[in-house]
């Protein structure tokens, strides 16, 4: 298990290699190792990979794994403010704590998880995803119109590829490369990492723009304390991550962005999000690791992988003669609980190791840009190439780098674009399935109705708030 933790952290730190690739590389060993070696290794690897991924995300603005992309929005700006240690402390602590609390939530849901998963149909998933898309409006700071345009562009990116129902290509321009859509890693690296590195190269200096050198250890401890100060936010985000984790096929990217958007929507200072606000780091990182606990519960209890990396774990379980599903929890309760507890121990060890090293990692923020820029760009492009072994991915990264630069300089909202991209394709798929299976009756489903109410509330809360504020100002002026 300890080896799994160390491997997971390394896999997480290296951009372009995520838990899926790490688990796939381990599979040949899983064929020959006993179950009590193979399974703890695999679970521990997955449990901590996004913890490791937070390090490159915060320090270099290169997502360690795609699910870390939401942390870019405030993690890297904190590094630019000279608070790299604080960002790391907050990210690592919230990750570890999110993973741990998700296990307790999983244990509480063991008696009812099968009922819950089987009750949620495609129509429900479509509207749950629509709630997530609605948060594009929340993410739009400054110009709402630019935010919505960014989100629409993200939705446009999400429809590129072969349409799932008809099998016909859309916006592929005859290119085989785009048949399965725009790949996620080149988009994330191009959109977020490249514009920041070019700004660094053009502006000179270091990533940390403040002249004050803040002591590494104290900074890290401050970040740890931030998680306890914002315990309600951490809990809220962990619950969001866990719930999305138990829904098969939604994925960690949706969990982290939804948690971020919800954190902003409920914050007393939403205008600070995106400028280097520690809540903007705590929310997505908590959701990251909490999602894994939910996904593992679904994998064990229902026999359906909760996320893409769980598909590999599921295969390993089957090969070891276990059949995950409703009987797994009753016939192999001890093994199931052990696997869940490995997430707890793995997160404890992983977070502790990273926190110990965080003050040293944080010094990267003070390395001169002329040294860092070529190194980071080399790592970024190598990671993109390692993703699928294709030159086209590198070219796509360059193209999205240009788009990222343009959108950044013109004040368009890159997180909203990314959220539209992540959720758009899934929303379309489940909407079509929902219409096909439920027809117009889908609007009578309780979950759908609840989601519609939430969407209305999210979209109208801002204008209503402003309207009440104007009225109360008028009233006090007249008084």
């Amino acid at each position: 298990m300890s080896l799994g933790v160390i491997t997971g952290l390394i896999v997480g730190i290296l951009p372009g290699i995520g838990p899926i690739q790490g688990l796939a590389l381990f599979l040949p060993f899983a064929f020959v190792l006993p179950a009590n070696y193979a399974l703890p290794f695999m679970i521990a690897l997955e449990a901590v990979s996004t913890t490791g991924g937070a390090i490159t995300t915060v320090l270099l603005n290169v997502p360690g794994d795609s699910v870390n992309a939401a942390t870019l929005m405030d993690g890297f700006p904190m590094t630019q403010k000279g608070e790299a240690g604080r960002a790391l402390g907050a990210a690592l602590t919230s990750s570890g704590a999110g993973g741990i609390i998700s296990v307790f939530m999983a244990l509480a849901l063991v008696p009812v998880i099968v009922t819950i998963v089987l009750a949620i149909q495609s129509a429900d998933l479509a509207f749950i995803l629509l709630v997530g898309i609605t948060f594009i409006a929340v993410l739009s700071k400054g110009s709402m119109l630019k935010g919505l345009i960014s989100g629409a562009l993200g939705l446009l990116f999400s429809v590129v590829g072969l349409q799932s129902m008809t099998g016909l290509p859309r916006l592929t321009f005859g290119s085989d490369y785009l048949f399965n859509g725009i790949p996620l890693l080149p988009l994330a690296v191009g959109l977020f990492a490249i514009p920041e590195m070019i700004s660094l190269a053009a502006g000179g200096g270091t990533i940390a723009r403040t002249g004050e050198v803040i002591k590494g250890v104290e900074n890290v401890v401050e970040g740890v304390k931030d998680v306890f100060r914002h315990w309600a936010l951490w809990l809220q985000s962990s619950v969001i991550g866990f719930i999305i984790g138990i829904l098969p096929a939604i994925g960690g990217g949706a969990a982290t962005f939804t948690a971020y958007a919800q954190a902003k929507a409920t914050s007393k200072n939403p205008e600070k999000f995106g400028t280097g606000c520690v809540e903007g780091v705590i929310a997505p990182q908590s959701a990251c690791n909490a999602e894994i606990g939910g996904a593992l519960l679904t994998t064990l209890a229902v026999g359906v992988p909760g996320n893409a990396s769980q598909a590999i774990t599921l295969g390993a379980l089957i090969m070891l003669g276990l059949v995950p599903g409703p009987t797994m929890l009753s016939e192999h309760l001890d093994l199931s609980l052990t696997l869940l507890l490995i997430i707890v121990v793995g997160n404890l060890i992983g977070a502790a190791l990273c926190l110990f090293a965080a003050p040293y990692f944080a010094r990267v923020a003070f390395v001169p840009g002329r040294i860092l820029f070529p190194l980071v760009m080399a790592v970024a492009f190598l990671s993109v190439f390692a993703y699928q072994g294709m030159l086209e991915d590198v070219l796509a990264t360059l193209a999205f780098g240009v788009i990222g630069l343009v959108t950044k300089n013109l004040g368009y909202n890159r997180p909203a674009l990314f959220l539209g991209y992540i959720l758009g394709g899934l929303f379309e798929q489940y909407l079509i399935l929902g219409i096909g299976t439920s027809g117009p009756r889908l609007f009578l489903r309780p979950i759908v109705l609840t989601c519609i109410l939430i969407i209305v509330a999210v979209l109208t809360s801002g204008p209503l708030k402003r309207m009440f504020q104007r009225r109360s100002r008028k009233g006090s002026d007249q008084a």
């Binding site: 064929f31 089987l118 129902m165 070891l320 409703p326 294709m390």
Partner: protein, 347 residues
């Protein structure tokens, strides 16, 4: 003097590679070739699924036959799915790129003229099929129906499918057409696991999947035991479940349609593109035959796919696929036109 020595060293360092590049190379035998090289097996799907598992297991045992050689699996290289298959089929012909794919994907997509396919079935050189299975038709545990006869009286049935042109999508359409069911096949699910989950929820009334997979679904309580096997013979996994010709009387044309499922069975097949030299193809086929006979390999296959899933050699597979060439194109067109009537969005 120093300059002379330095120059001499530089000239010698340059001379050796220049001299060796000019020397005539002896052609390597396939054994020598593969023993010194790394083979890349491209799997068009993400890691962790049944196709990936079979391909990876094969790759793991490659060094047992090819001493000194290695085989690595690259998932979704080329873009995944049809794009990866296009990528393999227009790739190098040195024999170092091998495809490990779902057999219906490699054969079915060009057969049924799926969008974006840029290869022909005859261009594929078969190395072998790691496991082979048949499709079975199963219903939801929430369904009130328990026989094919009861289904004939049902209204508004919904079955699940993937993208157009695959066996999983065509199977329910075929059964619906044979029996004249009031049914729709809802396409767009991402995988058979997703379809099975929808069936378990009652969102769908039924679906088709390979027999080994359905055994696990039954154990998980997701589906009922199958009603029929989409094959001319029964499945060893379900010896009490009738084959389609036993359950439904088929016309000669419908028997031809059934043969599509026989000649395009479920399973993971390994292949190389046309243009790879015959001696290398033979070496790969011999390697395949050797690896699938390794007792440890067989045990691992059985642990994952269950007993009754047999590998097929490249030559046998090629002979089977060649049978498709004898079927007139009009039969394929009639088949897809008939099943299209049941597809959501085309009704």
């Amino acid at each position: 003097m120093r300059a002379f020595i330095a120059g001499f060293i530089v000239v010698m360092l340059c001379a050796v590679p220049i001299a060796s590049s000019g020397a005539p190379k002896e052609a390597l035998t396939p054994v020598e070739f593969y023993s010194a090289k790394q083979v890349e097996m491209i799997v068009p799907y993400s890691a962790g699924g049944p196709v990936d598992f079979g391909a990876r297991l094969f790759a793991t045992h490659w060094p047992a036959y090819v001493k000194g050689g290695s085989m690595v699996v690259a998932n979704t290289k080329g873009g995944g799915g049809t794009a990866s298959l296009n990528f393999i089929m227009k790739g190098p012909t040195d024999g170092l790129t091998v495809g490990g794919t779902s057999h219906p994907g490699a054969v079915g997509y060009p057969l049924y003229k799926a969008a974006g396919v840029r290869w022909k079935i005859k261009d594929i050189q078969w190395i072998g099929m790691v496991y082979r299975d048949v499709l079975v038709f199963s219903l939801s545990p929430k369904s009130p129906y328990n026989s094919l006869e009861e289904l004939k009286k049902a209204k508004g049935l919904k079955f699940g499918g993937l993208s157009p042109g695959g066996n999983i999508s065509l199977g329910p359409g075929f059964i619906s057409a044979l029996m004249g069911l009031d049914a729709t096949v809802i396409l767009g699910y991402k995988g058979t696991t997703e379809i099975a989950l929808a069936v378990a929820k009652g969102e769908l009334d039924g679906y088709v999947e390979d027999a080994a997979g359905v055994i696990k679904r039954i154990q998980q309580g997701m589906v009922k035991p199958p009603l029929v096997v989409l094959s001319k013979k029964r499945s060893p996994h379900f010896p009490n479940t009738p084959a389609l010709p036993e359950a439904i009387k088929l016309t000669p044309e419908q028997q031809t349609w059934l043969s599509f499922f026989q000649y395009v069975p479920q399973g993971t097949s390994i292949f190389v593109r046309d243009g790879v030299p015959a001696d290398k193809v033979k070496f790969l086929q011999d390697a395949f035959d050797h690896i699938v006979a390794i007792p440890v390999f067989q045990k691992q296959m059985e642990a994952y796919y269950g007993s009754g899933s047999e590998p097929i050699s490249g030559k046998e597979l090629a002979a089977e696929v060649a049978q498709l060439a004898s079927i007139p194109e009009s039969a394929v067109d009639n088949f897809t036109a008939t099943t299209d009537k049941y597809m959501f969005g085309k009704k």
